[in-house]
Symmetry: C2
Subunit: 200 residues, 2 copies
Amino acid sequence: MAGSRWPVASPGRRRGPELERAILDAALEQLSTVGWNALTMEGVAAGAHTGKASLYRRWPSKADLVADALRTGLPQIGEIPDGGSIREDLHLLCVRTRDVMHSRAGEALRSVLHECDHKQADRFHGLIWSGLHEPAQRLIRELVLRGIARGDVRPDATGPFVVDVIPAMLMYRAKVCGSEWGGAEIAELIDEVMVPLLRA
Amino acid sequence: MAGSRWPVASPGRRRGPELERAILDAALEQLSTVGWNALTMEGVAAGAHTGKASLYRRWPSKADLVADALRTGLPQIGEIPDGGSIREDLHLLCVRTRDVMHSRAGEALRSVLHECDHKQADRFHGLIWSGLHEPAQRLIRELVLRGIARGDVRPDATGPFVVDVIPAMLMYRAKVCGSEWGGAEIAELIDEVMVPLLRA
């Protein structure tokens, strides 16, 4: 009914996971607006409408909080349903991987790496590995095996380097060439490189 | 005859290109030993047995000197003679590219990028592009065209992404996976990825 509302808890009454999620969201928001260097525990606490003590109870430092915000904020590539061909399957995987790179947490992760010092960078590079590259490689391995079973991928395409090509190309073009991965580029990558490399 | 010597100019009498080469060599030597942050114009001048004025006459800042030392010190990949097959040609190209990455200037460039701040990093990333990636891509394009003419490369392997695969893979494994490119890995890259991708 118009005007009716469920009772809403005031921000001060949030507990546990709900408060934690609000703090992690506020941290991502701060990263997107003021960046890594200017982000403070005070600013995040204010953004989450809570006190600094709530943050320090959970994360001993700004780096710990930000790492957790990035780790939990990064979307998953997700399962790739069988699209009937390795071409369709890898295309969807590339689009999803690109979307993770350009998600709010993905962009924040890139800007943190651009701002933070080299000691901290190792930790954030680790997040890119475990949150993006490693899952992408594991999925590509599954898609290749599905293609072999389906018959449109050559049976010997199981070497360790094959699963590196897509993550390597996505990173290379974004980092070294400074180019975007639009729909046309993804389609070209699949048709020029991945399909010839894998076809039966 | 034992004991006889050609007259040798004293270091103080070196001029022009000879002195310049000695200074650039001393800069690379300092990078390899003390690193970017601790490198000083004084230290390089001492290493080259010359005065600071000789350096400042040529390079207004440490960053200019180091960029020039890296640019001129980076070996070239060189021409790739026709080895009779795309497999042999690309194998040699990969070995040579890997060797440029691991040359004294290549290692120094990596350590500078690890130490310097982000503003300077853009300049040094530019050196990697113009001294390594761009020449590698140009050579790969030549080798692919030679393979098409020879008949062991498919005629439609001329899209823009094909020439990115080797530089992307070399960088990915070195940077993201933190792995070395030994002879066995290079052979696998060629046989697992490049030959299937290109074969007629």
